[in-house]
Symmetry: C2
Subunit: 267 residues, 2 copies
């Protein structure tokens, strides 16, 4: 896949020591990748960085001028290490202060009882100047959008919930479609020739091969063709299906059970 | 956690369209994060990028001068989209060619029968000039190290297998230890004050709070203290344990079942 594209482009920034220490297995990248794919937006790059102000500011400023949209997750909670909002304000050179609409959302979570809202929770109502809120249907405390940067929670369920309010704000591109063949007992290397030929013929498609399983007991290769040009995609996929019997025949010299089938995947 | 450190530093580069399309959930970052943590090496940043030559070369050259070690995964298989080795050669300005020791490893996988090794598989014996091989006990085809860059497979089981040959080549740092309290029915915001106080007192420790569960049915906060100074860690953790009863008492005003316990985690 080429990085140059007429479709909207995006970058994701995962903020949090717990990811880089190995304590937490990130799943937000995958959720965001699928979300962006469904809108036809090209995810160009992901960065995972620490709860470290200079690193956050530098990363934001580098990426927000390089792509159409930047999505951050993490660091907008109530504790001392939640510094993302301040860093975003710093990156944009704007002030940050408690905002009434954000505070009202937090208060509503406590039945309007301000005594239940302690000063730490109130930190979550601090929003950079000029930002618009991103609604959080899961736990209340909002994210925010400033220019082309969308600042969201790190907890996966909360982050996913915020995407409903993010989606309508994004310019959509043409969706990438994918078609997949699962070739069991077919080594990746045997499928390489046909993929190389198709890759040369169809410049605007992306062809991938992904080995699976354990060699030689139970293994194989998934062959994936992706692209926005539906006609080219169908044509290339048919050419793949036409070429695979010869590949499988070759594989059967060593693996008598070699076979292939089209499968439906989510990408 | 501060990014400035006397310990060795590292960056990870995950290469592959399948990660950025959302087709594949990455797990290599987490494996590498734990691996580096166990050696006392600070993982500073992770980047996930496409199978795109300019992007790979640019990312490698940026990171290899910024940290002590760079680890890449993905793109060293037998097919047309496996361009990582060529990009590494380009980044270092060296040639790349088939190498006898690498070819021998591949041949051994096929019982020494060169006819079974097709030209596509042979591509996996192409190694940049001056690199040393990284053994792959799982599927044969080696990775390689050139200067401070370690180039490994993308398939998680294979990548993990290569780490045995990588570990002895790395300068080790002082390991980060972590101690964790699980505070059930305690909102993150109530624990914030004690964390802030400890954070101010212990500059060389890293304190994190991580909400879990679903509010208000079943939720809570994990409080984690990390650091290399074992004495400071123990002292700060004791202070946390001493301060938590008052926090829990406060939480019980709304959540009668609020409680806390020390738990053992892997980080």
């Amino acid at each position: 896949m080429t990085v140059n594209t007429e479709n909207p482009t995006a970058a994701v920034v995962i903020i949090g020591d717990e990811i880089l220490s190995g304590r937490t297995q990130d799943t937000n990248v995958n959720t965001l990748a699928k979300f962006l794919g469904s809108l036809g937006i090209d995810l160009i790059e992901v960065r995972m960085i620490h709860d470290d102000a200079p690193q956050i500011v530098r990363t934001l400023n580098e990426l927000r001028s390089a792509v159409d949209y930047v999505f951050t997750t993490g660091g907008i909670g109530p504790t001392h290490d939640d510094i993302t909002a301040d860093c975003v304000a710093q990156a944009f050179g704007v002030t940050i202060a408690e905002r009434e609409d954000a505070l009202k959302i937090l208060l509503d979570r406590y039945g309007g009882d301000a005594r239940l809202l302690n000063p730490n929770s109130r930190r979550m109502a601090r929003i950079p100047e000029g930002a618009s809120l991103i609604l959080n249907p899961v736990s209340g405390a909002p994210g925010f959008q400033i220019e082309n940067v969308f600042v969201m929670a790190g907890v996966p369920r909360i982050m996913a919930g915020m995407l409903n309010d993010v989606a309508p704000r994004l310019r959509q591109g043409q969706q990438v479609k994918a078609r997949t063949v699962k070739a069991t007992f077919v080594p990746e290397s045997l499928a390489a020739d046909i993929l190389t030929a198709l890759d040369k013929k169809y410049a605007d498609l992306s062809l991938g091969s992904y080995p699976f399983g354990i060699f030689p007991e139970e293994f194989g290769t998934q062959l994936v063709i992706r692209g926005r040009n539906r006609e080219a995609l169908d044509e290339a996929f048919q050419a793949l299906l036409d070429g695979l019997p010869a590949v499988v025949e070759k594989a059967r010299e060593r693996f008598p059970d070699a076979r292939f089938e089209e499968i439906v995947t989510q990408d």
